[in-house]
């Protein structure tokens, strides 16, 4: 019988939530790596039992963990992330140049076809790849050639937080970096180009339409339509129909177009989800009401999804990697909050229930749909 495995990274460990396809009763596994920050854990679509986890603390630095049995046991892999060549400098908060320094891994994205190939998005922003299951890591330095000297850290650091692998073109990868923007390679990672035309950051950048420097919070894509990208920017929800060559705003009637995650329905490529946050100064839902917004038209027309979500006195945040979908027939949507709740909807967002209420602050949520 098919089922769902929800991989939750938190400030103080990883949790694995499992259910059958009904998604009514859940088993809560963990904490794994108790006491450590788990920025991300993710599973291989080529081998669902192969999981990777990014484990770190300010004390002991970065570790990478690997599981070959769906998270029951883990093995520490190589944690040596070394920038290629002389790393050079990027822009610092005060406009001066600052050396590139590795801090942590924000995202792990396994290859769509090979469980031993996995990409790691780092802070300070860079993309690394392992082709041996995490035993060694090599940077793809061409990314930092895409005007890296003009990139600058956002409030959360200069992090490469989003990696989208194109299912229809193995040579094409999209990444997003705060605060640098979105980038695309069409040659497997050797060379990259900024794809930020149409983004407008009038409050954040001296040149509001600069080629790089935009604070992109998250990107999403439906696997059947990889040329269509959706973006939650610092402010503004955006859409591209030409693989990032150009963007247009689709914020429409959202109560706030500030937010962090964005997700696409598993079976409806034009149905997308965001969680509006009041502002860059006040990181919680507007009016204390936790509302997921859904557009069934690919943007601009949005409806609030509130059934089962707190509609008063709710002041949590939903971080950029903390929303995901399953691929069951009735698509499930999941998100985690900084208050430690993981909410799930088994009906495309029409109704919600908390799977668990009192975890540490949730940093990331990924979902595996199991055969």
């Amino acid at each position: 019988m098919s089922g769902v495995r929800v991989l939750v990274g938190t400030r103080k460990g990883a949790f694995i939530l499992t259910s059958d396809a009904k998604r009514e009763r859940w088993d809560i596994g963990g904490p794994h790596f108790a006491g450590w920050e788990i920025y991300h854990l993710n599973g291989s679509s080529a081998d669902p039992n192969r999981l990777y986890a990014s484990q770190s603390t300010g004390w002991f630095g970065q570790l990478i963990q690997r599981s070959n049995d769906g998270g029951q046991t883990w093995e520490a892999m190589d944690n040596k992330f070394v920038y290629d060549g002389v790393p050079g400098t990027h822009q610092w908060y005060d406009g001066t140049q600052h050396p590139w320094e590795f801090k942590r891994v924000w995202r792990l994205e396994p290859s769509l076809t090979d469980p031993d190939t996995v990409y790691a998005g780092a802070e300070d922003a860079a993309l690394f790849r392992s082709s041996d299951g995490g035993q060694t890591w090599q940077e793809l330095p061409g990314l930092r050639d895409a005007k890296g000297h003009l990139w600058q850290p956002g409030g959360g650091g200069m992090c490469l937080h989003t990696i989208l692998l194109d299912p229809s073109n193995p040579h094409r990868i999209f990444v997003a970096i705060s605060a640098a923007g979105a980038f695309r390679t069409d040659d497997g990672g050797a060379t990259w180009q900024p794809i930020n035309r149409g983004l407008v950051s009038k409050y954040e950048l001296p040149d509001a339409t600069a080629e790089v420097g935009h604070c992109v919070h998250n990107l999403a894509m439906h696997p059947s339509r990889s040329g269509v990208l959706f973006m939650q920017k610092h402010w503004d929800v955006m859409r591209s129909d030409d693989a990032g060559e150009s963007w247009r705003e689709i914020s429409g009637n959202l109560p706030s177009d500030f937010g962090f995650p964005i997700a696409v329905h598993a079976h409806e490529p034009n149905t997308i989800y965001v969680v509006p946050i009041k502002s860059d100064s006040e990181h919680f839902p507007p009016d204390g009401k936790l509302r997921v917004y859904r557009s069934r038209t690919g943007g601009n027309e949005w409806e609030a999804l509130t059934n089962g979500l707190p509609q008063s006195d709710c002041y949590v945040n939903i971080l950029r990697s903390a929303m995901a979908v399953d691929t069951l027939e009735s698509c499930g949507i999941y998100f985690g909050t900084t208050g430690g709740q993981v909410y799930a909807s088994a009906d495309s967002g029409d109704s919600w229930k908390p799977i668990v209420r009192d975890l540490p602050a949730v940093l990331s949520v990924e979902v595996q749909t199991l055969p």
């Binding site: 006491g35 450590w36 300010g58 002991f60 630095g61 570790l63 520490a76 944690n79």
Partner: protein
């Protein structure tokens, strides 16, 4: 035999108890202890000192015989009591927030 006491998270990572024992060839220096520790427990590489610079991570401290050895150079000899195993060499995670 050198005794090294590790903090909780590193004991878990290395799958060891509160102390580990190391055999060191040559002088008992700070660098020799860390080199041997990482050789014997590869999972600890990068968690106590930086992979490339070999500098102590900022929130790690080294103590032995009631002395703070955190700022000693790698070639600094350690107290005889550490070299003989009478006292442990302590790797400590600094108190720095929750």
């Amino acid at each position: 035999m050198i005794r090294v006491a590790l903090p909780h998270h590193l004991r878990t990572l290395a799958s060891v108890g509160k102390e580990v024992e190391l055999q060191i060839e040559g002088p008992t220096t700070l660098g020799a202890i860390l080199d041997t520790l990482e050789l014997q427990y590869p999972a600890l590489r990068g968690t106590i000192r930086d992979h490339l610079t070999q500098k102590r991570r900022p929130f790690i401290r080294f103590f032995a015989c009631g002395q703070d050895l955190s700022h000693e150079p790698p070639e600094a000899p350690l107290p005889d009591a550490v070299a003989t195993g009478a006292e442990p060499f302590r790797v400590v995670g600094a108190m720095a927030g929750g």
